[in-house]
């Protein structure tokens, strides 16, 4: 199928059509923050800038019920209790609209963990299968953007199903995946003119050119391992970290979770919730021992995992999409770019340690 064109005036018509029988998540403004919310009539998507929270919840909810359980008693012998378990998977058909290339690409990092030949997480896999990404290509980078240094680009279609590129009066709409093609069959979309296609091509090139110079983060894998025991280095780079979880929870590639049973009375549920390696509890052992007792240990893990251990396990790809949220939204501006560059012994731009 050839590319389509979406006029700005037809945006809500298409969104309305997409929302038929589906949940469509769009970036909207709430008290200064831009977050993904279900689309409804009158919803005004914010497409001028990157959303503050990525659309991670669409596939990987912050709380997910894995199963329900209940106890029942033997009427003859009250002390004898039977357990009844019901697995629950909730995978509503969803379109994530208006995310950026980095947002969609984040899930490719998840896929290598949760949906492989050997291990398939049914909760994740089913949600992933029921969710499509209509991604908006970037034009101008924000000061925290560095996708081009982690093997991506502002117009990267990896992980998306449909890619929108801004052109005069609207967007060029291109299907990326087979599933994406189906979405293009909509009255709101017109066939794209050649001029529009040319404009889009130029816009993509311009967007790539607008990025700050790329530096190849791949060599960081080895360098970070070298620094594994250099706690002086990690103490220094983590000095200003306050150990909150903003960076990881807002990261499109962070996929860690914890599992808890929440019980009340004779029934309960097992839930999976987001967890963050920046938290003391993440590695706290029942004995009270904690292999990552300080924020330096924990920051080392975050950086190390993304730029070294993950690429090592998965043969190459970096577990960072370069979206820059961890920098932009960090209360104290811890800058992962700087840490990686310091580890690689490259010059750094800002004044202090990251």
């Amino acid at each position: 199928m050839s590319a389509k064109y979406l006029a700005q005036g037809d945006l809500s018509a298409w969104l309305g059509a997409l929302a038929q029988g589906r949940r469509v998540l769009v970036p909207v403004r709430e008290n200064g923050a831009v977050v993904f919310r279900p689309y409804g009539p009158g919803t005004k998507p914010v497409l001028t800038r990157q959303a503050d929270s990525p659309p991670k919840e669409s596939v990987f909810p912050s709380t997910e019920r894995l199963m329900e359980f209940s106890y029942s008693k033997d009427a003859e012998n009250l002390g004898k209790v039977a357990l009844d378990i019901k697995e629950t998977v909730n995978a509503p058909a969803t379109v994530v609209f208006g995310g950026r290339p980095c947002d969609a690409r984040g899930f490719t990092v998840f896929d290598r963990v949760y949906d492989t030949k050997t291990i398939r997480d049914p909760y994740y896999a089913e949600r992933r299968a029921s969710t499509l990404f209509v991604t908006l290509a970037c034009d101008t980078p924000e000061t925290t953007c560095f996708c081009n240094s982690v093997g991506s680009s502002p117009v990267d279609a990896d992980g998306s199903d449909v890619l929108l590129t801004p052109v005069d009066g609207g967007w060029l709409v291109e299907a990326v995946s087979e599933r994406g093609k189906a979405l293009l069959d909509a009255p709101a979309l017109k066939d794209a003119t050649a001029a529009a296609q040319d404009q889009a091509k130029a816009a993509k090139e311009a967007a790539e050119a607008a990025m700050p110079p790329a530096w190849d983060a791949a060599p960081a894998a080895a360098k970070l391992l070298e620094k594994f025991d250099d706690m002086g280095f990690w103490d220094d780079v983590s000095a200003k970290c306050i150990s909150c979880g903003a960076c990881t929870y807002l990261c499109p590639t962070c996929y860690c979770f914890t599992v808890t049973d929440e019980r009340s009375g004779m029934k309960g549920e097992r839930i999976r919730t987001w967890d963050t390696c920046m938290s003391f509890q993440f590695t706290l052992e029942a004995s009270g021992h904690n292999p990552r007792p300080t924020k330096a240990h924990r920051l080392k893990n975050r950086v190390g995992h993304k730029f070294s251990y993950y690429p090592d396990i998965h043969k190459g790809p970096i577990a960072c999409c370069g979206c820059g949220r961890c920098i932009k939204l960090c209360p104290v501006s811890v800058d992962i770019r700087e840490i990686v560059r310091l580890a690689m012994e490259l010059p750094t731009a800002t004044a202090g340690k990251p």
Binding site: Y71, K73, L78, G79, S264, G265, M266, G288
Partner: protein
């Protein structure tokens, strides 16, 4: 966990308005409940046996009894589960009688509420842990604070029972208020004559250490192991040397010193022995009036002292005593009656307090037992007694009856007639309160034999006129105003806690009321105990009372101490706070608020952590409510136990809304 639930009928007390069987049936479906039944009287012998059998047969590891208040039978059932082999703390009670069946007749609502209370108890019990009391050694010495008749009695009884006693008295002699009294009611026998021998016994008893002219600075520790710092105030006379010969008194040129013992009626010498029977009979210098202290000159007493006991350089001395129990018997003081401006507010010399009048009556008093008006030394012919000055009077913040004033006023009216046969006495009273053996008969005698004129009514004002005092009041029985011209007016001033009582109570960590009287543990059943283990009260420190009652309390407190010390070891209540060292961040906010000083800092691997001194912890849980990270938890009332009760209630609400 396997929990057994036992729902008590309490005859018809509970079963009358709660469907007991239904509660038991529904309890069977509660989590962790492995057995539930109803029982006629859970506390009865068969009831308790039923609980024990169920625990043993069903292999239960906890029991909930839903019956009356835990304040009543909590300990009973704890012993029951202990007899069944469980830890007594693996037990909870649901109060479905006082809090359910007795306060409403709606059986349906009551049944639902009873089930909720059972549900809460089960939820809490599921989080109970076995707790174990610890034993600790006790120091079998006792501290008695206050050397009035109650303190003397307590000290002598303890000492006779073989205990070592430390008696601390604030003034320079023991004897207290009783020593100041002339006679006692209703027998009209000489106060000092009956108290004197007891005072001598104190001085001579080998088991009693007496610190007169001393006060308690600090008390630390807990039952069985108190450390007490006693401050010996300087008397400027070395009491080891002083023989009490009195030579210094005779020669002392400073004869205008305020006479504390005589309630400031008249004056005395700056170096002084308060009264002839004083114990210890030792001189002491009132530095405030002594010429030597004021001007640096004089030194007469030092010159005349045959044993060279005078030491103007004497400093306060702190002595530390270790004891296992404390009896507070610090007595009372008269309230500040000068708030009564209508009685002259202290400006009229011949308007005096009853205690001052006692000194005027006493042969050892400043007038040698002759009643003389302070203003001009004349013998009064008309004496007016005003009762309830600072008692039963809300307008001056003294709503209570001081109890003994009616009786001593009658006594004083009688003695007035004895001393001055041609005198007339008037007594303005509100009600005569004379419950006691021979008491009412005594007041009748004052009226009938001694002709005291009792006028039922308050006095509105007293004012001087022509060298006498016009006492204007109302006679509520006659319904008229009355005015009496009196030569002397005696005020029956109400009692309040002794000066400094509140301060001492805080050191002892016991509560006191707004009048400075100490709170007993139970107004009826624990009259001499306090809420701090090992601290007892005797006499007027707990509230106004007469001599026989004070003596009885002194003996009662002594009996309590002797019983406490009959064991070699005490058991500590295991419902104390406990610190999760891993989670404590050492902010020590718990220690800042602990009312008992039971939390101290400790260092664990270089980090500051809180530590609970279990024997000092009283189990209030203030620290748990204070600790932001919940690292210090009061055992048996942990956050999780309370949250379980709350959540259980909210869950049942939830089910209702869903259903």
């Amino acid at each position: 966990m396997k929990i057994g639930v036992f729902i008590c009928h309490c005859g018809s007390n509970i079963a009358g308005t709660v469907d007991v069987a239904k509660v038991a049936e529904m309890a069977k479906s509660l989590p962790e409940v492995a057995f539930a039944s109803d029982t006629m009287y859970a506390c009865s012998e068969p009831g308790q046996e039923g609980i024990i059998n169920a625990i043993k047969e069903k292999g239960l590891d906890g029991a909930v009894v839903a019956s009356c208040t835990p304040r009543m039978h909590g300990p009973t059932f704890m012993r029951t589960v202990a007899r069944a082999g469980l830890n007594p703390y693996m037990f909870e009670m649901a109060n479905i009688r006082e809090h359910v069946s007795w306060i409403g007749k709606d059986k349906e609502a009551n049944t639902a509420k009873a089930l909720d209370l059972v549900r809460m108890a089960v939820a809490k019990l599921a989080r109970n842990k076995p707790l174990f009391a610890k034993s600790f050694a006790i120091n079998k010495r006792v501290l008695v604070l206050g050397g009035g008749v109650a303190g003397i009695q307590a000290a002598l009884d303890c000492a006779d029972g073989g205990l070592e006693v430390v008696l601390v008295e604030k003034t320079t002699t023991i004897g207290g208020k009783m020593a100041k009294l002339d006679k006692t009611f209703p027998t009209v026998d000489c106060s000092c004559c009956i108290l004197g021998p007891k005072m001598v016994d104190v001085a001579q008893h080998p088991n009693i250490t007496l610190y007169a002219s001393a006060e308690v600075d600090e008390i630390n520790g807990y039952v069985g192991n108190f450390q007490v710092k006693v401050r010996k105030k300087p008397t400027y006379v070395d009491w080891k040397l002083c023989t009490g010969c009195g030579a210094c008194l005779e020669k002392c040129p400073s004869k205008k010193s305020p006479d504390l013992f005589n309630e400031f009626v008249g004056t005395t010498t700056a170096i002084n022995i308060p009264f002839p029977q004083a114990i210890p009979k030792k001189a002491s210098i009132d530095a405030g009036s002594c010429i030597k202290f004021k001007t640096g000159k004089c030194g007469v007493c030092a010159k005349v002292c045959p044993v060279k006991a005078i030491n103007y350089e004497m400093e306060p001395e702190i002595v530390t005593e270790e004891v296992g129990a404390v009896i507070a018997a610090t007595g009372y003081d008269l309230m500040d009656w000068t708030v009564y401006e209508q009685y002259g507010g202290g400006r009229y010399k011949d308007v005096i307090t009853s205690l001052q009048y006692e000194r005027l009556l006493s042969a050892s008093g400043p007038t040698g037992g002759h009643i003389k008006r302070p203003s001009d030394g004349k013998e009064p012919k008309t004496v007016v007694f005003i009762q309830c000055v600072g008692s039963r009077d809300k307008s001056v913040g003294r709503p209570y009856c001081s109890g003994f004033c009616c009786m001593y006023t009658a006594k004083q009216a009688i003695l007035t007639k004895d001393h001055i046969p041609d005198s007339e006495s008037y007594v303005f009273y509100m009600d005569i309160r004379a419950p006691g053996k021979m008491y009412d008969e005594f007041t009748r005698r004052a009226m009938e034999e001694y002709g005291a004129k009792y006028v039922r009514g308050r006095v509105s004002m007293v004012y001087p006129s022509g060298g006498r005092y016009v006492v204007r009041g109302v006679d509520t029985l006659a319904g008229t105003q009355v005015e009496v011209e009196a030569d002397l007016v005696v005020l029956a001033v109400g009692a309040e806690g002794a000066a400094g009582a509140a301060h001492l109570a805080e050191k002892l960590r016991i509560s006191y009321d707004s009048y400075g009287f100490y709170m007993e543990s139970h107004p009826k059943l624990k009259p001499v105990e306090t809420n701090t283990a090992g601290v007892y009260v005797a006499g007027c420190v707990q509230g106004p009372k007469d001599i026989p009652t004070s003596v009885a309390q002194g003996s009662a407190a002594a009996a309590k101490v002797l019983a406490l010390f009959s064991k070699d070891q005490l058991q500590s209540d295991p419902q104390v706070s406990s610190v999760d060292l891993k989670r404590c961040v050492g902010c020590m906010k718990c220690a800042m608020t602990c009312p008992f000083g039971a939390i101290k800092e400790q260092e664990v691997r270089g980090e500051i952590k809180a530590q609970v001194i279990e024997t000092m912890c009283q189990g209030c849980g203030l620290c748990t409510a204070t600790c932001p990270q919940g690292a210090i938890q009061l055992q048996h009332f942990t956050d999780n136990q309370i949250l379980a009760e709350i959540n259980t209630l909210l869950e049942s609400e939830l089910e209702e809304t869903q259903g």
